[in-house]
């Protein structure tokens, strides 16, 4: 299929894919403060904890963590020059560990070097968090049921046939009462579902693929292709299939590639048969399923969702004859969708526009991992299910629309009324431009005519977004926190209050 080869084998398409993948992998490395040594230590500690029950593992981790905290206190005691404070610290240490506290603390903390010790402490804190979550999750599920029962007794919520009472019942019914959880390596799966850069990279790739269908307009080929026997409906079917194939490739390379990379870096995906709720990020995910089932569903959803987004943008681009105007229309539509997705709070009545939204499919896990029932004519409908439930009919509609548009839109049409308006606006603008001197003219050429302003806006958006994304220096934070915790340990006295 020549059209498939033209689009999918184009060097610029693969170039973009490679660039996006490289960008995502570089970000994965630079944003992750954890080193190879960390992940090795984590794997070793994880295996030790997996051999124990949750309570036993928890106890072991907490004991070792206390030893590290005690070591921090001991080091402080040894380096402290103020005799009064030193005496206070000595008393604290003796009370907790006995007269022989120096030997005991050093023995329990091990004789690792400082760097290794810091890594070990980080690992233990992560495991502690995971184990606490696994230990407390059953209580969380019970609380969901208890909350439902409690709210049913409140008059404001228990009106028969009302949304509130139905919502309470549905929430209690949707969440399981118990789930088997297993401690395992969650890094790769967590990264997959929380990574937005990958999702938006896939969006960029999908939009780029869609634009390849419009090159015929830019190159003056449209009349030639439209006048050919198979240059209309049949070509549109092929293009729909090409877009799907392109999205499959993009998803596997960008998201699958990153998943593989993070998994290799962090020591694997963990057991694929463990329930997804074993991972903290899935605490609000009501469907109990093994990780492998979730991964298949995730990739399928991503593919179908992005295919729909591509088809929607293609339909907008096709429906406007003038290419620059079509790009503007598509840009405005996407900006509008993004604004609705980003800024409508879930508590608003119009929250449905957050879920019936193209960006709900771009960033599908953000809505999947956040349980929310929308009020649809008094009936609670889960937002995530609404979003994905609409995929098949909307896809079918868009496919039909695109076939129709390819067949019906003519290369030569009467002037668009928007273009006529643009022509009128251009008159005073041209007068202004004609008064520019050389420097102004060059700026005008670079920023406006050659669309440099888009690069500037993109760079600005990236800079602001990147600033937001900068993670705190966790290593420093945790070290300081340990130090402060150790120093505050013990009975409350006038001195500690000071």
């Amino acid at each position: 299929m020549r059209e498939g080869r033209r689009v999918l084998l184009a060097p610029k398409v693969w170039g973009l894919l490679a660039l996006l993948l490289a960008f995502n992998l570089v970000l994965a490395v630079t944003q992750d403060w954890r080193t190879g040594a960390y992940y090795d230590e984590y794997q070793s500690a994880l295996r030790a904890c997996q051999a124990l029950s949750t309570e036993e593992a928890m106890e072991s981790v907490e004991t070792e963590l206390s030893a590290f905290q005690a070591l921090s206190l001991l080091e402080w005691y040894e380096s402290e020059e103020d005799p009064e404070l030193k005496e206070h610290l000595r008393q604290q240490l003796e009370d907790s560990f006995g007269v022989d506290f120096e030997r005991r603390i050093r023995e329990s903390a091990g004789s690792e070097d400082e760097e290794r010790g810091a890594i070990r402490m980080e690992v233990l804190q992560t495991l502690q968090e995971q184990l606490q979550y696994i230990r407390d999750y059953p209580d969380y599920l019970l609380q969901v049921q208890d909350n439902a029962e409690m709210m049913k007794t409140w008059e404001i919520f228990n009106k028969e046939g009302g949304f509130s009472s139905r919502n309470i019942e549905k929430t209690a019914a949707d969440f399981p009462t118990s789930v088997e959880l297993r401690l395992d390596n969650d890094y790769a799966v967590t990264d997959l579902v929380t990574d937005t850069v990958g999702s938006y990279s896939l969006l960029v790739f999908t939009l780029f693929l869609t634009l390849q269908f419009l090159i015929e307009r830019k190159r003056g080929l449209w009349s030639l292709i439209h006048g050919a026997p198979e240059g209309r409906g049949r070509l549109a079917y092929k293009r729909g299939a090409i877009l799907l194939l392109g999205v499959v490739i993009g998803t596997l390379v960008l998201l699958g590639g990153k998943l593989l990379f993070v998994a290799l870096r962090s020591g694997g995906l963990g057991s694929l048969t463990r329930n997804v709720q074993s991972t903290m990020v899935f605490s609000d995910f009501p469907w109990v399923m093994p990780v492998w089932v979730f991964l298949i569903g995730f990739f399928l959803l991503k593919i179908l969702g992005m295919w729909l987004v591509g088809m929607a943008v293609w339909a907008i681009l096709q429906s406007v004859n003038h290419l620059p105007l079509a790009l503007c229309a598509a840009g405005i539509a996407l900006a509008g969708e993004y604004a609705l997705f980003r800024f409508i709070p879930d508590s608003y009545t119009i929250a449905i526009f957050r879920y019936v939204n193209l960006f709900a499919l771009v960033d599908v896990t953000s809505i999947a991992l956040h349980y929310l029932n929308l009020n649809l004519f008094g009936w609670p409908v889960q937002g995530f299910l609404l979003s994905i439930g609409l995929i098949p009919p909307v896809l079918a509609l868009l496919f039909g629309a695109n076939v129709l548009l390819t067949a019906r839109e003519k290369p030569v049409s009467r002037q668009n009324s928007l273009l006529a308006l643009a022509d009128r606006i251009r008159v005073p603008f041209s007068r202004f431009v004609s008064r520019l001197r050389l420097f102004g003219m060059e700026l005008y050429k670079i920023l406006w005519l050659q669309k440099g302003v888009l690069i500037v806006l993109l760079a600005a958006a990236f800079s602001f977004g990147f600033l937001e994304m900068q993670p705190p220096d966790e290593e420093l934070y945790d070290t300081e926190l340990s130090w402060i915790s150790a120093s505050m340990a013990g009975p409350i006295t006038e001195q500690t209050l000071e």
Partner: protein, 238 residues
Amino acid sequence: MQLEIDKLSKAYGEKLAQDGFTYSFHPGVSAILGPNGAGKTTLMNLITDCTKRQGGEIRYDGTDILKLGKEFRQRLGFMPQSQGMYEQMTAQDFLAYMAEIKGLKKKTAAAQIRELLSVVNLEKAAHQKVGSFSGGMRQRVLLAQAMLGSPEVLLLDEPTAGLDPEERIRLRGYIEKLAADRIVLITTHITSDVETIADEILLMNHGKLLFAAKRGEFISGCGAASLEDAYIKRLHAL
């Protein structure tokens, strides 16, 4: 084989691009002359259904081409005025692409491509990217793609536009070679391009057909010495 245009009308805003154009084309080369903006390209766009007509009919062998749809487009070869191609494709790849868009089977397409590249003298350049081609070479590729599928109706819109005299003569030769037993419509405002190859001449201006006659009658009928002379005389007389 007959292509009938019956009271064709098309307007772009207030400007009438086709104003009741009526004519019947038969096998042979018909040259449509007229100044810039006369409506020649609009006529081509209407025949290829690249723009919507507002009135009138275009019939092929008695049936409206819109009713025939794909069936008519299978019998049509079109060389547009713009030299648009996928720049990264080689000449061979582009022809293969167009052959697929025209619904030709692979074996048939391969054989036709080989033959047409030979006819337009692009065999040696078949594996070069069209982006590197000169204007004349691009026109030859476009002519070759128009001939794919052995169309019964061949539309050539300003086929020699932007070519140097040598290339124009060469292209005229190719058109003459390929024009046998088909309806060929050539639009141009360069009279020398069609002086020797056209069987009949049509004169258009402001969307109207002003005059149509066999080549000999077109020239001698107004006492002109050449086609260019006849064109100017008739255009200003009407």
